[in-house]
C-alpha cells in the first residue's frame, strides 16, 4: 500500500528483570497509514506505552531489548543508534504524553521548550523560530500566545499545558504523532477539546497518529482504525466502525460489556474473571486470554494463536472467538 507510513513487524520489547528479559511487547505487527488515526486500546499493563516508547526509541537501553522491525521511510528504527534516532525523533515522529503536569520542564519558559526542537531540526533564524512558536501556539488554540511563550508551565492550566505539549510534538511537522493517553488526566470538557484539536491537526497536516488509550469512548470519538492489545499482543484489529459494531475477540467483547453504558439501565455490568497476569508470569504460549474464560474449552483455542483476517481489515487472534459466549449464556456449537 502506498499510504503506509510506519510498518512494525514482529516487534518484541523486553525488560530485564533479574537478568532475564521479559517481553512486554510480544510480537506486535501493525502498520500506520498516512492521514490515519490508529487507536491502540487495552488494559493497564498490556504493553501500549512500551510499544510507543519502542517506536520512538525512548526506552532505557540498559534494561530494555527491542527486536523486530519498525520501518519508517526505509529505516529500521529498532536498529538505529541514538544519534541517528535524534534525526527522526521530533522531526519525523512527535510524541504527546499522558500527564501534562509533569511532562513540561518546570524551570523553562514555554517558548523555549517549544523552540528547542526547532533549533535542532530546522535552520530557521531566531526570529523565524519565534514566529513559528507563536504560530504553533495559536494553532493548538492557545489564546494570547505572545504572553504564553514567556510563561512557565505552572502558570497554565492542565488543558493549556496539554496543548503546549501537542505544540511541541507537531513543531517540526512530523509525519507521525504518537499520543500516549493524551487525555486521561483531563476533565471531560477539556478532553473533548483536546480530541477535537487532534482531529483538526491531523486534517491539516495529514500526519498519521497513533493514539493510545484505554477509554473506548475516546476511541469512538476520534479513531479511524483500532488495535486491541492484551498481554503484549494485538488480539484484534479493525476499522473503528467495524470494531464497535462487530467486536469479535472474547476480550474485546467483554470490554464492551463492562462499560457502564450511558443509556443502558442494566443493573449488572459484565466482568472479566481473573487478573491480567504480570509480565513475569505471562503465559508465553497458547491463547493468553484463555485463563480468563475458563468455561470455553481448551480445544476452542489455537495452539499458537495467530491473527486471522475475518473480514477485510478486521483481524482477530486465536480461533476462540468463534466459540465465545459469555459465562452463563449458551454458546455456539463447535464445528
Amino acid at each position: 500500500m502506498t499510504g503506509e507510513l510506519l510498518t512494525i513487524k514482529d516487534l518484541h520489547t523486553g525488560f530485564r528483570i533479574k537478568d532475564t528479559y521479559y517481553d512486554a511487547v510480544d510480537g506486535v505487527s501493525i502498520t500506520l497509514k498516512k492521514n490515519e488515526i490508529l487507536a491502540i486500546v487495552g488494559e493497564s499493563g498490556c504493553g501500549k506505552s512500551t510499544l510507543a516508547t519502542s517506536i520512538i526509541g525512548l526506552h532505557d537501553h540498559n534494561k530494555t531489548k527491542v527486536q523486530g522491525e519498525i520501518s519508517y521511510n526505509g529505516l529500521n528504527l529498532a536498529l538505529l543508534d541514538e544519534d541517528n534516532f535524534n534525526k527522526v525523533r521530533g522531526e519525523e515522529i512527535g510524541m504527546i504524553f499522558q500527564d501534562p503536569l509533569s511532562a513540561l520542564n518546570p524551570l523553562m519558559r514555554i517558548g523555549e521548550q517549544i523552540e528547542e526542537g526547532l533549533i535542532y531540526h530546522t535552520n530557521l533564524s531566531k526570529d523565524a523560530r519565534e514566529k513559528r512558536v507563536l504560530e504553533l501556539l495559536s494553532q493548538v488554540g492557545i489564546p494570547k500566545p505572545k504572553r504564553v511563550i514567556r510563561q512557565f508551565p505552572h502558570q497554565l492550566s492542565g488543558g493549556m499545558r496539554q496543548r503546549v505539549i501537542i505544540a511541541i510534538a507537531i513543531s517540526c511537522k512530523p509525519k507521525i504523532i504518537i499520543a500516549d493517553e493524551p487525555t486521561t488526566a483531563l476533565d471531560v470538557t477539556i478532553q473533548a477539546q483536546i480530541l477535537d484539536l487532534l482531529i483538526d491537526l491531523q486534517a491539516e497536516t495529514g500526519a498519521g497518529i497513533i493514539l493510545i488509550t484505554h477509554d473506548l469512548g475516546v476511541v469512538a470519538e476520534v479513531a479511524d482504525r483500532v488495535a486491541v492489545m492484551y498481554a503484549g499482543q494485538i488480539i484484534e484489529e479493525a476499522p473503528v466502525d467495524e470494531l464497535f459494531s462487530n467486536p469479535q475477540h472474547p476480550y474485546t467483547r467483554s470490554l464492551f460489556n463492562s462499560i457502564p453504558q450511558m443509556n443502558s439501565e442494566d443493573d449488572k455490568l459484565q466482568v472479566i474473571q481473573g487478573l491480567v497476569p504480570s509480565l513475569v508470569k505471562l503465559p508465553r504460549t497458547g491463547c493468553r486470554f484463555s485463563s480468563r474464560i475458563p468455561w470455553i474449552p481448551a480445544r476452542a483455542h489455537e495452539e499458537n494463536p495467530i491473527l486471522h483476517e475475518i473480514s477485510p481489515g478486521h483481524l482477530v487472534r486465536c480461533t476462540c472467538w468463534q466459540h465465545f459466549h459469555f459465562e452463563g449464556e449458551r454458546g455456539g456449537s463447535f464445528q
Binding site: G158, L195, G217, V218, A220, V222, L255, S264, V271
Partner: protein, 328 residues
Amino acid sequence: MSFMQINDLHVHYPIRGGFFNAVVDNVLAVDGISLEFEKGKTYGLVGESGCGKSTTGKSIIGLEKVTSGSIIYEGEDVTNKSRNRNSSFNKDIQMIFQDANSSLNPRKRVQDIIAEPIRNFLKLSDLEEKRKINELLAIVGMPEDAKLKYAHEFSGGQKQRIGIARAIATNPKLIIADEPVSALDLSVQAQVLNYLKDIQKELGLSYLFISHDLGVVKHMCDHISIMYKGRFVESGNRQDVYQSPQHIYTKRLLSAIPTIEPSTRESRKRERITVEQNYQKEEYQYFDEDGRVFDLYSLSDTHKVAMTTTNKEVIHKVAMTTTNKEVI
C-alpha cells in the same frame, strides 16, 4: 424519610500570606450546598476536578472542619463533633477512598485492615471477629486466605474490594465513595461497581457516590448533583439530569462525554461546538460577577437548578411579593 441532612455546608480553606502570615483569603472549596440522604439510595456528585467533591465527602465524615452549615444525623447535630468510637454517627457513616492503594496501610495484613473498624466500634470476641472478617471477605468475593496477605499483593480491583469490606464492616447506613473506580481499568471497574450495587441491595445502604465519570454516575445513582466551584448547579434524578438538563454547565458537561458510537461522532462534534458557543455566549447569565453559581430553585420535586440572572430577578420579585403579602 431522610436519615441525614446536610444544610448549607461551607468548607473554606484559609490562604495565608501578607505580613505575619495571617489569613488573607479563603478557598471556598465547598460554598453552600445542601443534601438529604434516604435509605437505600445512591447520591451522585459530579463535577470537574477541584470543584469540591472530595471536600464535601470528607467534611461530611468529619475529616475536614466544616466552616458553617450543619450536618444533622437522625435529628442530632453532628457538625464538627470530634470523632470517637462510641458515636453511632461514626459507626454508621463510612468511606471508600479513591486511591485504593494509599487507603490501605501497606504495613498491615488484610485481616488487620478489615478488623480495624470492628475492633473500634463493635465489641466482638476474637472468634466472632474472625467470623465477621471471613463473612466480609465473602461478601466482597475474596478468598479467605487473603486475610494473611498484605495489600500490595492484590490488584487494584481487589484492593478496592478490601476497602469496601472495611467500609461495610460496621453495617453503616451511608458510605461515602470518593471516586472509588476512577483509578481502575474498565473490567475491574465493572467488578467493583457490581459489588457496590450488590451490597447495597443486601444491606440497604445509601451511597454518596463521588465521580467525574458521568457514565458511571448514571449507572449507579438515583439522584445526581452537578457541582461547580463548590456549589451545585443542578441536581435531580437520573432522568432530570440526563434527559432534560437545564443549566448551561450541565449541558456542556454532558455534551463532552464521548459515546461508544463512532457513527455519530460527526454530529456529536457539531453539537458540542454549538453547546460550547452557547456556553461562551450565555455564561454570564448563569454566574454572578465573581463567577459564583446562583442559588438553586426547584423545577420539580426532584429537579433543582441554579438560577440565572433573569429568573433570579423573577423569583426574587415573587419572594418579595409573597413576603410583602405576609407582612400586609
